[in-house]
Symmetry: D2
Subunit: 244 residues, 4 copies
């Protein structure tokens, strides 16, 4: 691969890699299968949204951290801080959606993030704190463009569980915001990526963070099975959703 | 002091403390005296602007760091990231103004920050990284409201050195921006400061960071004296400004 | 599980968890199978040792970081810093062993860590920087006691590849050091672990870091396959080991 | 100054700079004058030891941080971690000595560090976290060799206040430890300092950290005056020492 690869061609290469990785995840995820087959329950969806709550709470922070490290590049640092400002507090939408499933009158401690989610969070801080300054854009590139893959699943969930829009604030807000964000991501890639080393670092972070997200989805399903067989006492409160 | 002190009264207390501290600095600073007496030279002004360049380069970074630490408070974290985004790259204006004095054709390494400036920078990171989450607002409170104290000095400098507005981009930009910023600071103080402990922490950081800035001004003048007597070889390039 | 579980019983629970996790890894690892079957090549072993070099280079650092965070607990902080001091530079033994395979006259850039190794490194920093102060002991607990699982594999490698002790400095040094270290780990666990929450955090970090190490082993084998089919140009220099 | 300056000559230059800086501090410090004149009180000494407690609590941490940053230099990183291990918990000796003055039966909150002490602490973290890797040795160089300057003052304090050795654990322990430490500092300087840039960075940090310590001494005296005139309510508990 040489440096004469055009910007458009670089994006196509990223897109191809994303599609292949998403295909691996969607084909092998038991959570995805449960959604597609219509066997998803409120508890399973809640388990997923609890992990979404956990990792989302760190997105503004690790995005801001990139700006702190790279304030010598004003265009990029400005992007990082503005993007961080926009991501602040989004985890509260995920939390709202979990509670709206029928947990508002329950008393419980929010379970800590699953290890697979901790690993995703750890990786996002690590690639924000070290290495190629631009590499976190690899995470943004797939995450802000995930709705083509996720929307069919969310639609299916909302049908099966009879969820109203007011119970899907996290996904509705993001599918609106992210179109604009995705254009901003492409613009900042165009303005900042200068070398093949930049594109390589972005590609590695893109694929790795997407695969770690896939691992998180699988861990959600494992936890669901443990919960069903009574081996996940931290999630006992989810039985309040059984009859609803 | 009890918790029934009103918000307006807290601001008055901050303002009184600022006025007293500024008075100490202005009365004792040899740099200020040189400006008021009209004996300021381009080299002395350049020395000051080089330090301004150095500490300004960290302002967006330590402001962003506060957001990274406190993303659990969305209102405040959003303010921190947005404010950081606005501060990005301002050091380049300071650098531009230094160069415009007559250094554009000189070849030199930018001297590192003076120890007094390093101490100011160190302190701003420290209070951003630890302690009361709101305390960095004490720095913003005086810094975004400094132009009443600084503008007369800058006006005098521009007269004595016959500087054009295009050579004063740093101060002109800031005196415009900072009125709006100062209103934002007051608004975020009103929305976030809840306890006397918050106000105490803000007060300590406000006074300490202002005094460290005063120490920096004094160090600039000491360096100027060293330069005049040939004992500051790092600043030899400033002799290009002697005859201009 | 209640707080009356004895210290000895806690260690037994850790040991059982380790054995089960190691069994999963050893049973499913293609690298392990290649070693056991005697089909391991110098290139495959080198690929493994390059990743060992990469993550080992961070062990002293993330161990020291725990001491920096928790200097308020003198017994534990002293342990952390002393342990960090002992771990310094061990990656150079791994590098020496790689080079001794027949690479000393080759000119090459050391390939960066594989993504799976970056994820392990990221996780170890994350659990050192945040969360339960004692949780990194979960990593030490399995890593300093791994030689019962690893020694048979290393013995097999040394037979198949006809390696001399001077080519196995990393493993020989560690199997000597780690017996003493493991006793120190148990002692510090006994002195510092006070609550079930401590043991739970240690258990999660122990299992997660061991599984991430297993993922790294699998990634080594994947990279080996890519290299064999000419799709890993960064490792072209390993062909110098083909005929040796 | 050129690179042919011998190691011994570099140490002489450091020593001359230290002597001059100490002379400035000792000549101008009102705290030092009070000690020399025999007018030091238990409250004044306690105020000093409380600040000593505060900054000492960070010494192991910022020393360890240097090792975390520079683990690529095994000789130096090993020194940093070992030195950090030795510094752990020393603040507890300072606290013990404060309490032994007659405060054991008092109930009080330990006052936070004075701003001047915070500035010293901030600076030591900053120069440990950034800049020349070796520069923190400039702090160690004067701090581990301070007893020639401090011992006469401590002797005078112990006479005036009739303190027993068991009340001076901090200084007695350090004057013993530090002779050995100082030899280690010189040895590590000899093994690691290679360029004039290293010596310059060490010199700046040495002088700056010593001057900030001088500022802390002055702030202690200012606080003492405030306490005497009833304007430092945080230190009211020190009146328990008035009659003792």
């Amino acid at each position: 691969m040489n440096t004469s690869v055009s910007f458009e061609q670089q994006l196509i290469l990223l897109d191809q890699r994303i599609e292949k990785t998403w295909a691996d995840i969607l084909d092998n995820s038991r959570l995805v299968r449960a959604i597609r087959e219509g066997s998803v329950s409120k508890a399973l969806y809640a388990l997923y949204m609890i992990e979404t709550f956990h990792y989302t709470a760190h997105n503004a922070r690790n995005q801001g951290l990139v700006g702190v490290r790279h304030a010598d590049n004003p265009v990029y640092a400005k992007f990082c801080f503005e993007h961080a400002a926009q991501e602040v507090g989004h985890e509260k939408m995920a939390l709202h959606d979990v509670m709206s499933l029928g947990l508002k009158s329950e008393v419980f401690d929010m379970p800590p993030a699953l290890p697979a989610t901790e690993v995703l969070i750890a990786y996002l801080y690590w690639i924000s704190f070290t290495g190629n300054p631009l590499q976190r854009l690899g995470y943004s590139y797939w995450a802000e463009n995930a709705y083509q893959f996720i929307t069919p699943l969310i639609t299916r969930i909302s049908e099966v569980l009879a969820l109203k829009p007011a119970q899907l604030t996290f996904f509705i807000a993001h599918s609106d915001i992210d179109i604009e964000h995705f254009n901003e991501i492409k613009l900042i890639l165009q303005r900042t990526c200068k070398s093949q080393a930049d594109w390589d670092a972005i590609t590695v972070v893109m694929e790795t963070s997407l695969r770690l997200t896939g691992n998180m989805l699988e861990a959600v399903y494992e936890q669901y099975e443990a919960w069903q067989s009574g081996q996940a006492p931290r999630y006992d409160f989810l039985h309040a959703l059984d009859q609803s």
